[in-house]
Symmetry: C2
Subunit: 411 residues, 2 copies
């Protein structure tokens, strides 16, 4: 077996970005199903939006030059030659000296180049007094102003939000090519682990919390989850169950028992699933050091620590970007973490990236991140926490009042 | 009909917080279904977590006082009287002068009060040399250290995240009482609006974008959506269709056509659905001024502007807190918006709260919010935008470099 050095967080993230990509072909799905999924095509519009020139106000469509110089004391006089209705074609052309009533959103008739607002006119029978001049194009959105035919509307690798579906809908798309949701398999290991449904625990037994937390977190990231259950610390059974689950999923997560034996088995099992095998064996973080990452064929396999808190933080740190790569999402260009001031000194060791849980408090001088302490592995601290703060590997700690970035937990 | 003054944003939010609350009784659901839902009970633990005292390291369980004074040159000598296995009860009590091998997570035997790490001992047959002293309690998590029996673990009104499900699971809960997902009905109105599936648009027609965007946004907030389709600008039909949908949902959203006629009908229809009727008729914002909020019985009814951009921003601003109240979520105590510097001057009128769309750029001196401009109602601007920035009603605008809070769009 190869010997592995512990990797830094940035080395591990670089490996993730280099090694993983969508492992299944894109699928075409109806718009109503794709919110949160990632585009697998560049969307080019076949249509203009709006597809006709429309008024942005209630008023009268006119030729702008007929209104030049018009004022309260010297109005322009126009003939009212029609009334445009919502949703109908404006099929009577407008000539100089004429006006047609038009509602907000109504279609601009041929010959008109602007709209005078209803507040600036007076109707006198079939005549219109115009008290304010308008410029050509005023109060009009022209055909194609929003989207031109042939325009790139959205690029491949974009995660679809509600407003993006609106734009796709506006250009006449009813379905779109997206990367399928990755299927994540979760297998818990450890002789002490029992199903979370078990009511009365025998001494020494611990419920399988990681399947619950990691499963829900994976679904939050757009994955479908296949629960593999629990396997005892026996190499043959573990290898067999892992292999069965591996073949049904796109990304296998092994949640490790915390004993020495289980940790050893996890690496052997990961190697047994296929080449190239283990890429990262241990990460220089606290918590989460025993995290293992491997690749079998094109699929990622990750070994998370058994402690629920470490498992959750390592999932946020490494499994989330793996899921993003499997979904074809472009890596983020911008750091969208919240800024806050840390509420007390936190020591840390140089060479190790520390993650501390924090809750947030709004004070008069801004947002403060208050560390939530507790013995390692205390899961109740996660309920109080709203996010995590990173103490970089090159720092000996952070001092009270120092500005930190908070990675918020999803809710 | 009553006469309404335009309300400010904070007046409208106060009305929302005062008027709306969960309108259906809580339901008991399995943990696997409740991620993102809101707790409708105070969760008190029936159990201790961990439910037995466990070791946090691999080593030997001992009586701490047997190790006092132990060092490399003067080790303590103990008898090895057992080996504790993972997941099994430690049923042999430990006496003075004895040690039992124990893995990380293993159960501490009666009589032991601490664990010496494996690195600090040497096994010689059935004897153990201990080279380091330990204090009572060292390397142990005691029963109940994480959660005590009778402790309040999570309070009513808390939105359940993956880690919260983990804690519920740890205390033996397999189901929990939550507020049911609110059912949101969406009805689009306007003579010009046609179904978004329509391929070839006739002149004057516009696809129903708001059902798509508002429907997806409501689902992101945990709602179930009932699509009511499109109704023409005819009072009787509009009132009948609105009433039918209203009786099937917890929250009715009317997405208004933009013509004057439709706006008038919307208010009449909202009044016709029941008392107390319209609460807010117009909000001092740009965009979104024609937003209307009413209450019929205990249910909220909201009239959104027809422009997709205005509708989306007004949904974020007012419909999201309504959905939070309907789900029983406690109002947020902390402002979790991102800070950024605005990248150019943006003028605004005093007395009106303006919302501008921004994209974010990471620069050397921090995060910048770059306004995304475009004519009102241009939906393509929403694709580029990552969030919205508020210009408060008491400001005449914001100047380049000024710090602003960004409300991120969900993705």
């Amino acid at each position: 077996m190869k010997f592995f050095h512990v990797k830094t967080v940035s080395e591990t993230l670089r490996i993730i970005n280099e090694q993983f990509q969508p492992c299944r072909p894109p699928v075409e799905l109806p718009l109503i199903e794709v919110c949160g999924m990632v585009l697998a095509e560049d969307v080019i519009s076949d249509e203009q939006v709006p597809h006709f020139s429309r008024s942005t106000v209630d008023g009268f469509a006119v030729c702008a030059k007929d209104t030049f110089g018009a004022s309260d004391s010297l109005p322009a006089f126009l003939d009212i030659t029609g009334r445009i209705e919502m949703g109908m074609a404006a099929d009577t052309a407008l000539h100089e000296g004429q006006a047609q009533a038009i509602p907000t959103g109504g279609m601009i008739p041929a010959g008109a180049d602007s709209v005078v607002m209803i507040e600036h006119v007076e109707e006198v029978g079939e005549m219109l007094n115009v008290f304010r001049q308008v410029a050509p194009g005023e109060n009009i959105v022209r055909a194609g102003d929003d989207v031109e035919r042939g325009e790139l509307v959205m690029a491949c690798g974009h995660r679809l939000r509600p407003q993006d579906l609106g734009v796709l809908s506006a250009i006449g798309r009813t379905s779109v090519r997206v990367h399928p949701r990755p299927i994540v398999g979760i297998l818990s290991t450890g002789d002490e682990i029992v199903p979370s449904e078990k009511k009365e625990l025998a001494p020494g037994e611990v419920r399988d919390i990681n399947s619950v937390t990691i499963g829900a977190a994976a679904r939050q990231c757009g994955a479908t989850v296949l629960y593999g259950g629990i396997v005892k610390d026996d190499y043959d059974t573990f290898a067999k169950r892992a292999s069965e689950l591996f073949h049904k999923v796109d990304f296998l997560i092994l949640s490790g028992g915390s004993s020495v034996g289980t940790r050893d088995y996890t690496v052997q099992v990961m190697q047994s699933l296929g080449d190239p095998g283990v890429l990262v064996h241990g990460v220089a973080t606290k918590p989460g050091k025993p995290t293992i990452l491997s690749k079998a064929g094109e699929k990622p396999v990750m070994g998370l620590p058994g402690h629920p808190v470490s498992a959750m933080i390592m999932f946020q740190l490494f499994a989330v970007p793996i899921l993003e790569r499997l979904q074809g999402l472009r890596p983020a260009q911008t750091d969208l973490r919240l800024s806050a001031k840390i509420a007390r000194n936190v020591p840390s060791a140089v060479g190790r990236t520390d993650y501390i849980r924090v809750k947030l408090e709004e004070r008069e001088d801004g947002l403060w991140a208050v560390p939530v302490f507790g013995k390692s592995g205390l899961i109740s601290t996660l309920v109080e926490s709203e996010g995590i703060v990173e103490i970089a590997a090159n720092k000996e700690g952070i001092v009270e009042g120092e500005s930190v970035k908070v990675h918020l937990f999803k809710s």
